[in-house]
């Protein structure tokens, strides 16, 4: 049933008894054309675009837990395309463009809220680096504005302009950036993929990959072997472990990133603002909670719970940027597992195993990439070779040293 205000009103008349399942549970077949391992945002988007763009509907998405239970359901929901390097910017802009029409495309309102993303700068050299990035965006036809301190004051009056240890000098604004209701992205893609014939299986862990003669032939699960012509891995947070099943070592470390939400408040801050003199970013959800986060905990971990040291650090940075947060109460904090690559940029590529494809290494930028990641990964799986937009997102770049390092932090994920 199509979602609309009319169907909602009709359903209200019968006590909402008529809504079908958003996605269905199916008896699994023995064989699929494509198996996507990982029912997160990227995996579900991949399945959707396999069906929609490539007419490959004989697809199974396998999820160990519940769909959307990984980073798509535990991030700070920011979308933006404010990158500097030519390998990144067009990809993320493609993603932002897909976001802009996604609710209508999927017929699921995931509340794409384009109220802007503002990166603050606090020094001349930071301004120049931001200018380089902003100019890169403009050269790609992407919206970007370099604000001086008065411009920032107008956009985000709550910042500390008077007593800051590191005074705000200005900021780089992307007006089309914003936030999206994160869980709804997974659900929207799942529902749309399901309607196109994709099978989604939850609580079905992949325990092994079937590889014969250097070519993948399927996956092992607790319910038995399922064969497939092609297998795509989209298991961010566990990419190293799943790739290990195929004997592939990756340029990835798994790190923690903590996110926070406050109690629900009446409108407090409009867009997304990031601090330039420390790690902190802040937005307010459509439900009223302030959503914020900071830096990685800084040590390898698969634990999904953040440490107190970084929590103190983030909240301190929060008050430094927005003193009015002082009495706002933090409601909850949680952590996601970040696939940190050694250059801070992702991997969407073919692998040394034939017909096995890899999508991972999203660092802390995976959420905003979801649509483009699914789009490009579907293309890579369907065509057996990368889309021009993910041409450079290879594993091979780490063998040659042709890294895509936006920040220049080098192979130290905890500094990226």
């Amino acid at each position: 049933m199509r979602y609309s205000v009319f169907s909602l009103a009709r359903a209200a008349l019968n006590g909402h008894k008529s809504w079908p399942q958003a996605w269905r549970d199916h008896a699994l077949r023995d064989r699929y054309r494509v198996i996507v391992v990982g029912g997160g945002g990227h995996g579900l988007a991949t399945a959707y675009y396999l069906a929609k763009n490539h007419n490959i509907t004989d697809v199974l998405v396998l999820e160990r837990g519940y769909i959307g239970g990984g980073n798509v359901g535990r991030n700070t929901t920011i979308i933006r395309s404010n990158y500097m390097l030519p390998a990144n910017e067009p990809f993320y802009e493609h993603s932002l463009k897909l976001w802009e029409g996604l609710a209508q495309d999927l017929n699921f309102n995931m509340m794409v809220s384009q109220r802007g993303v503002l990166n603050l700068y606090h020094s001349d050299s930071q301004r120049d680096a931001f200018a380089r990035r902003g100019n890169a965006m403009r050269l790609c036809g992407v919206d970007a504005e370099l604000l001086d301190v008065d411009g920032v004051r107008k956009y985000a009056p709550l910042l500390d302009f008077d007593n800051a240890r590191f005074p705000v000098q200005g900021g780089l604004l992307q007006p089309r950036g914003g936030t999206v209701r994160h869980d709804a992205v997974a659900w929207g893609y799942a529902r749309a993929a399901d309607r196109l014939g994709v099978h989604i299986a939850q609580t079905c862990e992949v325990t092994g990959l079937v590889i014969e003669g250097g070519r993948v032939a399927g996956v092992e699960t607790p319910h038995g072997r399922i064969l497939a012509d092609k297998v795509g891995l989209a298991v961010a947070g566990n990419t190293s472990l799943v790739a290990q099943m195929a004997g592939i070592e990756l340029p990835i470390e798994t790190h923690l990133l903590t996110a926070f939400v406050s109690e629900g408040l009446k409108p407090f801050i409009d867009g997304v603002v990031t601090f330039g003199a420390g790690h902190f970013y802040l937005s307010q959800s459509d439900k009223g909670g302030l959503v914020f986060g900071g830096d990685l905990d800084g040590y390898n971990s698969y634990s999904q719970r953040g440490g107190l040291a970084e929590i103190d650090h983030v909240l301190t940075a929060g008050i430094a940027m927005v003193p009015a947060m002082s009495r706002v109460r933090m409601l909850r904090h949680w952590a996601g597992r970040m696939d940190m690559t050694m250059d801070g940029s992702p991997i969407i590529c073919t692998t040394p195993v034939e017909n096995l494809f890899l999508n991972g290494g999203w660092c802390y930028g995976g959420f905003k990439a979801t649509p483009a990641s699914g789009w490009c990964f579907a293309h890579t799986i369907a065509a057996g070779e990368p889309h021009p937009l993910n041409r450079d997102f290879t594993i091979e770049r780490f063998r040659t040293g042709r890294v895509i390092d936006e920040k220049g932090a080098g192979p130290r994920p905890w500094l990226q």
Partner: protein, 100 residues
């Protein structure tokens, strides 16, 4: 807040240390071997389990130490100097469904 046993200073807060990643692979010795260097610089075993890693007691004795830490429970099994051969515990500590 991790509490890290420094072999010099005893049990100290994580905030006194800085992290420097895996201590699992030795630095290649052949400066002409770019492929080996790339593997060392960029590729990681990234275990879900016990992990040998370097920490710098930057705000303490300023010594570099090696720590064997579990990447799910964060339990620390051993610490010592960088050249010490610290044994890896065999089984994961008993901490239930941590990390799920």
């Amino acid at each position: 807040m991790l509490r890290i046993p420094c072999p010099c200073c005893g049990l100290r807060d994580e905030t006194e240390f800085t992290y420097n990643g895996s201590a699992e692979a030795p630095r290649p010795t052949d400066p002409e071997d770019g492929a080996a260097a790339a593997a060392y610089v960029y590729f990681r075993a990234n275990p879900r389990g016990w992990h040998a890693e370097y920490w710098h007691h930057a705000q303490g004795c300023r010594r570099w130490i090696k720590v064997i830490r579990h990447t799910v429970t964060h339990e620390i099994a051993a610490s010592g100097w960088p050249d010490e051969d610290l044994p890896m515990p065999e089984a994961a500590p008993n901490t239930g469904k941590a990390g799920r």
